[in-house]
Point group: C2
Chain length 149, copies 2
Amino acid sequence: MPKLNLQAIEQSNRTGYPSPFAEAMTRRWTRRLAPTAGLTDFGASHVLLPPGGISSQRHWHAEEDELVILLAGEAVLVEEGRETVLRAGDIAAFPKGVPNGPHLVNRSDADCVFVAVGRPAAGHCYYPDIDLHIHGASGRFTRKDGTPY
Amino acid sequence: MPKLNLQAIEQSNRTGYPSPFAEAMTRRWTRRLAPTAGLTDFGASHVLLPPGGISSQRHWHAEEDELVILLAGEAVLVEEGRETVLRAGDIAAFPKGVPNGPHLVNRSDADCVFVAVGRPAAGHCYYPDIDLHIHGASGRFTRKDGTPY
């Protein structure tokens, strides 16, 4: 059935980040929609951020477009040198290759819900605030100097 | 700026459908997000359906996944032999190659707003209710027997 039963999709706060960057992610609750829905052209995540939650460590992708659609609550979109409040119905787009790492932070006292759309992982990913990098060829997290965690 | 200024993006009720199938589309108001946002991996449309509007003629794609995210109001998702009401926060997914042509119909007395995500046009598109087809190789609308409009 095309309408997704969101409640039936596992909601997880797992993260692939190595320690110590993983610790900040315990308040990001993600449902991965594409595997359940049978989509392969792109991925989509339904994400709940309780107060204090962040969507990711601030990052930008060399080869992946991303689109975020706010469904409920509000989040602060933090970019390089700028902050913007996003509310239900707002949409933000992050074209590949723009070196302006964003993330969303829930500084409100209510839950925030959004959907994030992107293509399958590809290419390098840059984290401006922390010593972390996704190496394009391997898809693995490394330090900025290329050494593994 | 990643947050999209939706009001600044042209809202159009144009359709590529030939007559007489175009006439039903005058109450679909679409903003195409990807060209403004600089996205190329996938497309996304912000769509407003006033009461009586429909999202498209009922159709399914051979080679394009689609994802719909309801932002406001409600719409009836009409499929082969089934109807489902979608409300704000609901998500529906349409994996390629599933021969179950859906569309959304606003039977309420308030506006409905949704975002639709898909990859660039590819492959055949089938319209179960009407004598219309998108030919995969040409990307053009034809009758079901292949003759042009």
